[in-house]
Amino acid sequence: MITEALVLSAILFVLGTFGVLVRRNAIIMFLCIELQLNAVNLSFVAFSRMVGIEGQIFVFFVMTVAAAEAAVGLAIIISIFRHYETVNVNNFNLLKW
């Protein structure tokens, strides 16, 4: 079961990365990052079957941090939206050469 869980975790992680690379909507990119975090959570839980309860404790913390990060990140996106009237990251190009 552990191996299958890890494979699932890998697939989800790869899909999340693909989403980050490809999507232009800032909020959806963020969502894909959450997907990646979940994949990692799954792998932690799988390994906790091998190693101990520490894996699950870590997942606990990851979820907390993810929540905090989501809150702040979305606040930032709202802030940017107020300036640009869009969340299309292609428009956030002030750092362009």
């Binding site: 990365t17 690379l21 490809v22 800032a26 990119m29 362009k96």
Partner: protein, 712 residues
């Protein structure tokens, strides 16, 4: 400190008396005058640029800048001369066989090579010191009167004192490097003083020319120093001359190379062919400067060098013959140019070059004492001639100034009939003219005659090499002597005799110069009359030319310099054998002395008649000479030749280096590197797309790389 740390006392009891002070006093004079000059620098520079002179007749009279240098300038010279005199009399009493070297401190100390700051007191340096400080003092006094209208008065005396300082270092130095310090220093002061009126572009250029041509000579001097060092490992006189006879092969390539390079250096400093071109241009400086530097002292440095290195030159017959050849050729060449010059100072300049040629001839044939003797007498009468010319120019300038005319105050065609206006100058300059022409009993007769005689004596010696060549030298020397008599007489006639051509208005303003200017002339005149009586050989002394022994003539100088020339004489005796006692065309010393003085006197008288009979046109109405006279007037076009074949190619090469190599290639490469960096940076900046997706992509690729590397 002035007594020196280690005075090596020699045989006899000669204790040097404050020798360091002799050198130090002019330096102190330079510092004081220089400080004063700096304080008034701005005002003085503005005045020079405005081409102005000080208005001394106005309220205030002599300005404040004038008082201190008037006393300090000649004052330190008098002090130096008196101390030298004390040392001289002390040395007269003692029987000195080895030079006394007074060391002060170690200047260069690297491994095996040491040079200490040391002064050498021996007979040769003492003679030079007396000449430098004595004649120098008289010229300083003359300058007080000559330069009093000049706003650069303190600067002038500062430079003059600095020059004396360096000249004394040159003649008193106990090693070649120390001599070279003085050598370079006098070159520097020469530049500063020639270009004294720097606002005039021509005068400044003359200073540059002097310095640059000198530099070529300095190169020769340095190469010779390097060769000496590799041979002997030391450059002190004691070290080099002590090992010379054993360390160097007679007539060998090494010693010939050394002497030829020294000749190059001496030719630069003493204005011989081919490096004489700076001296006529150097007449752009104030006339007392010409008297001091370009007649009495600096230009004699080359002769001093050869005399000091006498043993080296004795060991190289080729080197000596080259020295003599260059000397006698220059003597003739310069004399021909002097025949056609109209500027009074230019005539004297070429005369100086010619007489220096005689000195070179003297030390070249091996008569070192005779060369030094002529150096001494030449200092007297040439300084007198230049100072007299200065007095004349001063008077002419004053006259033109009064009438606001812009004629050339130095052109002899504008002079004439000055003997009634400037009697003292007239008499003293005639004395100098007779001396330089070699008329008995004046100074030049004895010295010039001795040189010509020794050319025959050494040239006709038993084992002399190149004896035919020396015969040619002897003939040329006689010819040049006749030319000397002619052009000097021409100078005197054009300047002092005949009708006055300055102009009726100006003539009323011509008058004799002040005592501060004619007293030095008088002193030098006395020296020019009797100065030659200190080195008269036996044969002449006992004849009627010496009053059959009644006149107070001696052969003192020859004996005095014997310890110096002993080594060289030893080499000469070894290799040349017995000297000849008759000239190439027969006749002994006395006979030829008589012949040359009578011939010279004849030339003087005849030329007075011939030139006096011709009418001379004032400068503004005169026409260019034609034919051979034109060649002489244009100095045989040597300057033009140098310009075409040496200066212009160098300028072109420099321009090429500048425009092509430096500006285009080197700057281009540097700029290209800059451009490349900028381009590279621009290329890299393309990475900053500003697109978040791109950043995420690169991030992912980076993570992949790390993962891949860690897993492999």
């Amino acid at each position: 400190m002035f007594q020196g740390g280690g005075a090596q006392a020699a045989a006899g009891d000669f204790e040097p008396f404050l020798p360091g002070l002799v050198v130090l006093l002019p330096l102190i004079g330079f510092l004081i005058n220089g400080f004063l000059a700096l304080k008034h620098a701005r005002a003085s520079a503005e005045a020079v640029r405005a081409g102005g002179e000080l208005d001394l007749d106005g309220p205030g009279g002599r300005p404040a800048t004038h008082t201190l240098p008037t006393w300090v300038g000649p004052g330190v010279m008098l002090g130096a001369f008196l101390i030298t005199l004390v040392n001289f009399t002390s040395m007269l009493g003692a029987e000195l066989h080895e030079p006394v070297v007074v060391e002060y401190w170690t200047w260069i100390a690297t491994g095996t090579f040491t040079v200490s700051a040391a002064l050498q007191l021996d007979q040769l340096s003492m003679i030079m010191m007396m000449v430098v400080t004595g004649v120098g003092f008289l010229i300083h006094v003359f300058s007080v009167g000559y330069m009093k209208d000049d706003p650069g008065y303190p600067r002038y005396f500062a430079y003059l004192n600095l020059f004396i300082f360096f000249m004394l270092v040159l003649v008193m130095g106990a090693s070649y490097p120390l001599m070279f310090v003085g050598w370079e220093g006098v070159g520097l002061c020469s530049y500063l003083l020639i270009g004294f009126w720097f606002a005039d572009r021509e005068k400044a250029d003359a200073g540059k020319k002097a310095f640059i041509v000198n530099r070529i000579g300095d190169f020769g001097f340095l190469i010779a120093l390097f060769l000496l060092y590799t041979t002997f490992g030391t450059l002190d006189f004691a070290g080099v001359f002590g090992e010379a006879e054993t360390g160097l092969l007679y007539g060998g390539g090494l010693v010939t190379a050394i002497t030829l390079f020294f000749l190059l250096g001496a030719a630069g400093k003493s204005a011989q062919i081919p490096l004489y071109v700076w001296l006529p241009d150097a007449m752009a400086g104030p006339t007392p400067v010409s008297a001091l530097i370009h007649a009495a002292t600096m230009v004699t440095a080359g002769v001093y060098l050869v005399a000091r290195s006498s043993v080296l030159f004795a060991l190289s017959p080729v080197g000596s013959a080259a020295v003599a050849g260059i000397g006698v050729l220059t003597a003739l060449f310069a004399a021909t140019i002097a025949l056609k010059q109209n500027d009074i100072k230019k005539v004297l300049a070429y005369s100086t070059i010619s007489q220096l040629g005689y000195m070179f001839l003297g030390v070249g044939v091996g008569a070192y004492a005779a060369g030094v003797f002529h150096l001494m007498t030449h200092a007297f009468f040439k300084a007198l001639l230049f100072l007299g010319a200065g007095a004349v120019i001063h008077a002419m300038h004053h006259a033109y100034h009064a009438t606001h005319s812009h004629e050339d105050a130095q052109d002899m065609r504008n002079m004439g009939g000055l003997k009634s206006h400037m009697p003292i100058t007239w008499i003293t300059m005639w004395i100098a003219t007779l001396a330089i022409a070699g008329i008995w009993p004046f100074a030049g007769f004895f010295s010039k005659d001795e040189i010509i005689w020794y050319t025959a004596a050494f040239g006709g010696a038993e084992n002399a090499p190149f004896s035919a060549l020396y015969t040619v030298y002897w003939i040329i020397a006689l010819a040049a002597a006749m030319l000397t008599a002619f052009y000097m007489t021409r100078l005197m006639v054009l300047t002092f005799h005949g009708k006055n051509r300055t102009g009726a208005e100006e003539e009323r303003h011509l008058h004799e110069v002040s005592p501060v200017m004619w007293v030095p002339l008088a002193v030098l005149a006395v020296l020019s009359i009797f100065g030659g009586w200190i080195n008269v050989p036996e044969a002449i002394r006992m004849s009627f030319l010496g009053g059959f022994g009644a006149l107070p003539m001696t052969e003192w100088l020859h004996h005095w310099l014997e310890p110096i020339t002993a080594q060289a004489h030893h080499v000469q005796e070894l290799h040349l054998g017995e000297v000849s006692h008759s000239s190439p065309f027969g006749g002994g010393e006395l006979a030829w002395a008589l012949i040359s003085t009578i011939a010279a006197a004849l030339v003087v008288v005849v030329s007075m008649r011939v030139i006096g009979g011709k009418t001379v046109v004032p400068a503004r109405d005169d026409v260019e000479p034609t034919g051979f006279g034109k060649v002489l007037y244009n100095k045989w076009y040597v300057d033009e030749f140098y310009d075409r074949f040496i200066v212009q190619p160098i300028i072109r090469a420099s321009r090429f280096s500048w425009k092509v190599i430096d500006a285009t290639i080197i700057d281009g490469v540097v700029n290209a590197v800059g451009w490349g960096s900028r381009g590279f940076g621009w290329g890299i900046s393309m990475f900053q797309t500003g697109s978040v997706n791109t950043y995420a992509f690169i991030l992912t690729v980076g993570v992949l790389v790390i993962l891949g590397v860690s897993m492999l």
